[in-house]
């Protein structure tokens, strides 16, 4: 297959997979088999593009023209490549986990779940490989819509309320701000292509650039910069595999990925580096990092704590992008990968605890580590990665971001990063401590062991991946360096 065909196939495979899954709705084993096969095929396709992109190629395909001058176009560039590899790779693990979770908890509407999941992956791949702003927006909206049934999976009034918040914020911000920003860009420049060095450079007034940046950053609600972060905690009503892959990896990363991509390829790092109108963004991101960490600290519900941790970690990427130095851009790109691995491990662990012990609150986890050693061991690894302790991958990205902040002479950013590291430790380590060093309460409700095997295998895999990525950091680093050098 030529690279362009591979590109098209990467988009088509999950869509076709969704169709097959729907067709196989009567035979659960076949259905789950198809899910796994689709995930593996997708990963193989995406990975096959990696060598060419690493070598500097940019496979591209223009599907068709939507409106005069505006085409549906897919281009693979380093950042998209990185995102696509992470998303598709983790989908395999997540599918394994889903099978254990959905069966273990006897969830209803499983076919709908797998179909929407495959659709969400197709949309995520579309976001990753979007060749222009229009394509990006198209798949971005598709991702919001296709994940709605997953968020409201349980169909309870609570889930519907959460679904309203989820969709209201994501669709609301994207149409009211993101779309306006895109059309404004189109009107100013007459193009929507992503170009190294940006398309807005030159004669655009300072204030306009600042306003546009604000429209983009808050319009991309998936990046969860405060105050448009409320959808993410709301989305936690979904089954845990959804929270794990979508609301720790695919959806939220699509958000920060879009922000990073737009900063690099639409604004141009060098073009806006000196402008006063973009100075506010590091502070906004810094505020989100600290504020979300504090909320996480106070949250007793485990998934809620993880969600606010995600909000905080996402703003690392936004902060890094806003620092506008090559090192911080590298850090931003790497953080998309490292946080994904770390956070999915944590969610897997949370889901495993729920499935095996039906516990959702942090305060219930006393002594659980001895009953679920694999799960809590993986949890500890994930937590360490997020705090930034080597040899977990989170250390590398944090290193680059802090280096970038020092490089930019932005002392506030450095302070924020240090403070946030302490806060990370403050809200993750007590969980690990409780699990292993506090004696379990003697209420007789703890006669349980590990979660189903498929789930344990999955979470051990991602925990191992978190450590492995630390040692294999070269390939994402190579991609990130390409991005930073334009």
């Amino acid at each position: 297959m030529s690279p362009a065909e591979t590109l098209l196939a990467a988009l088509a495979v999950p869509i076709a997979g969704a169709g097959l899954i729907a067709a196989a709705h009567r035979v659960p084993n076949l259905r789950e088999g198809i899910t796994l096969a689709t995930a593996v095929t997708l990963f193989a396709l995406v990975a096959s593009l990696l060598p060419q992109v690493a070598a500097g190629d940019r496979p591209a395909i223009t599907l068709f023209e939507v409106m005069p001058g505006i085409a549906l176009r897919l281009v693979v560039e380093p950042l998209g490549m990185l995102f696509a590899v992470i998303a598709s790779g983790l989908w395999i693990v997540n599918s394994l986990y889903s099978i254990g979770y959905m069966r273990g908890n006897k969830e209803a509407h499983q076919t709908r779940f797998y179909v929407c999941f495959a659709g969400a992956l197709a949309a995520a791949i579309g976001v990753a490989f979007a060749g222009n702003l229009f394509t990006l927006f198209l798949f971005y909206e598709a991702l919001s819509l296709i994940t709605y049934p997953l968020v409201t999976h349980h169909g309870t009034p609570e889930a519907m309320r959460a679904g309203r918040v989820y969709l209201g914020i994501l669709i609301g911000t994207s149409i009211a701000l993101f779309l306006v920003a895109i059309i404004w860009t189109w009107q100013l420049t007459g193009t929507m292509e992503f170009r190294p060095g940006g398309i807005l450079g030159g004669d655009i007034p300072n204030a306009t650039v600042g306003l546009l940046l604000a429209l983009y950053v808050f319009g991309i609600g998936k990046a969860a910069v405060m105050p448009v972060h409320r959808w993410l905690p709301a989305a936690m009503v979904a089954p845990t595999p959804v929270s794990a892959l979508l609301h720790a990896v695919a959806v939220v990363k699509a958000g920060v990925f879009s922000v990073l991509k737009i900063v690099v390829y639409v604004f141009g790092v060098d073009a806006i580096a000196g402008l006063t109108s973009v100075d506010w963004l590091p502070f906004m991101a810094g505020f989100t990092i600290i504020a979300a960490s504090i909320v996480a600290l106070r949250a007793d519900n485990l998934k809620r704590r993880l969600a606010y941790s995600t909000v905080s970690q996402l703003s690392y990427v936004v902060l890094a992008a806003a620092l506008l130095t090559p090192l911080s851009i590298i850090g931003a790109a790497l953080h998309i990968a490292t946080h994904a691995l770390g956070k999915i491990t944590l969610f897997f662990a949370a889901g495993a605890i729920y499935t095996a012990a039906h516990k959702t609150e942090v305060s219930q986890l006393d002594g659980i580590g001895w009953r679920m050693p694999w799960t809590m061991g993986a949890f500890a690894v994930g937590a360490l990665s997020l705090i930034g302790v080597p040899p977990a991958a989170g250390f590398v990205s944090k290193w680059f971001i802090i280096s970038g902040a020092i490089d930019a002479g932005h002392m506030t950013a450095v302070a924020v990063l240090v403070a946030s590291t302490l806060l990370n430790a403050a809200y993750f380590l007590p969980i690990v401590y409780r699990a292993f060093f506090v004696a379990p309460p003697d209420d007789g409700h703890h006669a349980h062991g590990e979660a189903p095997l498929a789930m344990v295998v999955a979470l051990v895999l991602t925990a191992a991946g978190t450590v492995a990525l630390f040692f294999l950091i070269d390939w994402p680093l190579a991609l990130a360096r390409q991005l930073a050098s334009g």
């Binding site: 068709f64 023209e65 939507v66 409106m67 005069p68 549906l72 229009f134 927006f137 198209l138 909206e141 598709a142 819509l145 049934p149 409201t152 169909g155 519907m160 679904g163 309203r164 969709l167 209201g168 669709i171 609301g172 149409i175 009211a176 701000l177 779309l179 306006v180 059309i183 404004w184 189109w186 009107q187």
Partner: protein, 493 residues
């Protein structure tokens, strides 16, 4: 050569078919004829559209009396676009109507239904095709009278009152239009619109011409249901038979928009309407009011058909908003939204017709859990609803794109913000349907429902697929609209 008669053929065919149906007195034959006539009109319209796509004009003299004296049919890229739209919708609705009408209209009235249907079609096509001011009024009344009858055929007795109110309002509107045309006739001595445009510049500043403009604006806005002249529309759409609602919602108001464009740009010229007079500002204010107030009212409706009827009023606001910019992009936005909204609303009302088949009225409290028993219908409504919101990949997005672009070009960023904000209201009312249809347990009555018959479902889905297809490949529609906008502005200058 028959092709030289195309400009009149698409009007004549339904006009001839109507009396044949009455003579045949048979519902089945009438349906066959109506379908055949709609499809032939579509073929003729598409041929015309291709003929004038380059901006040329086809003129046809009725009775071989040369234009300023005789009645001229004048096809340019503006009305060719409209002819395709109207005949396309008519063709799809014709297929749809067989089962729908069989269920909703007494059997002995079927042939009369189809007679009125083709008369309405002939009237709408005639309005679009004619280049004569008075002939336009006559066709307007042909389409209006037949649509009053069609609406009154609804099952609910409220349909009668809705039809009566539409009759009163519509007749006042049409009379206003004929007064406007009369005043122009008195001042220029001609009824041919192109000739009128050539003679008007000498007398533009006179009071009768300004009065004519005022009468025409109010009259046409009554017919196109611009807020606050929309009061007839919600009931008419809500209580008419489903096929009629789909057809009228997709075509009738759109043709009225065309009449407004024709008078504003071809007859008066933009320099009179927009430069010398504050029509742009007035249209802008009314459009914004329509977008926000009608959408807000829509949110609180219990009857789903009424909800989408109010949404129509709001969407018409988008069209007139595009006109009010008086720019090439604004006009392109207006004309392309004409087409896109017709597809969307046609799809919605046709799908709802499938639900109404068994339920009669469609109220939110009666359709909980609808998606379980009618998954295809519900999913179609969701897709069309997304188009109303303006999600990318649907036609609504294309419209919104050009509308916002036009606002930004005009340097009105606040307007761009208002446009996108108003589409968020659409999210609210579309999601009311989603939550009710997908998340409630089906009641006893709902679980007895079945999907609509295949012919209705297929016709509805043709429109739904159109919503997505023309959202992804908008070059045809946008190209046609841009050419139409250029034609309108070219004549005006």
């Amino acid at each position: 050569m028959i092709s030289q008669h195309y400009p009149v053929l698409h009007v004549v065919l339904p006009l001839i078919a109507a009396p044949v149906m009455v003579l045949a007195r048979h519902g089945g034959i009438a349906w066959l004829l109506a379908t055949a006539v709609s499809w032939s009109s579509l073929a003729v319209s598409v041929a015309l559209f291709a003929q004038v796509a380059d901006g040329s004009v086809v003129s046809y003299a009725i009775g071989n009396w040369a234009p300023p004296w005789g009645i001229e049919y004048r096809i340019d890229s503006v009305n060719a676009f409209l002819l395709v739209l109207v005949s396309l919708i008519a063709s799809v609705v014709a297929i749809y109507s067989r089962e729908s009408v069989a269920a909703e209209v007494p059997r002995e009235q079927h042939y009369l239904f189809y007679t009125m249907y083709v008369l309405c079609l002939a009237g709408l096509l005639g309005i679009a095709a004619t280049g004569d001011g008075f002939n336009l009024f006559v066709f307007l009344e042909i389409s209006s009278l037949s649509s009053y009858v069609l609406i009154a055929l609804g099952r609910d007795r409220r349909a009668l009152m809705a039809s009566y109110q539409y009759l009163i309002m519509g007749t006042i509107g049409a009379t206003f239009i004929v007064i406007g045309v009369g005043l122009l006739f008195l001042m220029t001595g001609t009824l041919n619109l192109a000739d009128m445009a050539a003679r008007l510049p000498g007398v533009t500043e006179t009071r009768p011409v300004l009065a004519a403009l005022a009468f025409l604006t109010v009259g046409i806005c009554l017919k196109l249901a611009l807020f606050p002249l929309h009061l007839w529309l919600p009931n008419a759409y809500a209580y008419a038979p489903s096929a009629v609602t789909a057809f009228l919602a997709a075509t009738a108001t759109k043709v009225s928009v065309y009449v407004l464009l024709r008078f504003y740009y071809t007859v008066f010229g933009e320099s009179v309407v927009f430069a010398a007079l504050p029509m742009g500002g007035i249209l802008l204010a009314l459009s914004l009011a329509a977008m926000f107030i009608a959408s807000t009212i829509a949110i609180f409706q219990d009857d789903v058909k009424r909800l989408f009827a109010y949404s129509s009023v709001a969407q018409i606001g988008y069209i007139t908003l595009g006109i009010s910019f008086d720019s090439a992009t604004g006009l392109t936005a207006a004309i392309v939204h004409l087409f896109n909204h017709a597809l969307t609303k046609g799809a919605l009302f046709m799908l709802l017709g499938g639900v109404a088949l068994h339920l009669g009225r469609i109220r939110f409290r009666d359709i909980g859990g609808l998606a379980r028993v009618m998954p295809l219908t519900s999913f179609g409504v969701v897709l069309a609803g997304l188009s109303l919101i303006g999600v990318p990949g649907t036609v609504g997005f294309v419209s919104k794109w050009y509308l916002v672009l036009a606002a930004l070009e005009a340097g009105a960023g606040w307007l761009a913000a208002l446009i996108v904000l108003s589409s968020l209201l659409a999210v609210v009312y579309v999601w009311r349907f989603v939550e009710v249809a997908y998340f409630r347990e089906p009641s006893e009555a709902v679980s007895r429902l079945k999907e609509a018959p295949p012919s209705m479902l297929a016709a509805s889905w043709v429109m739904v697929v159109g919503c997505v297809y023309f959202g992804l490949d908008a070059s045809t529609t946008v190209g046609g609209a841009a050419q139409a906008a250029a034609t309108l502005l070219g004549i005006g200058r």
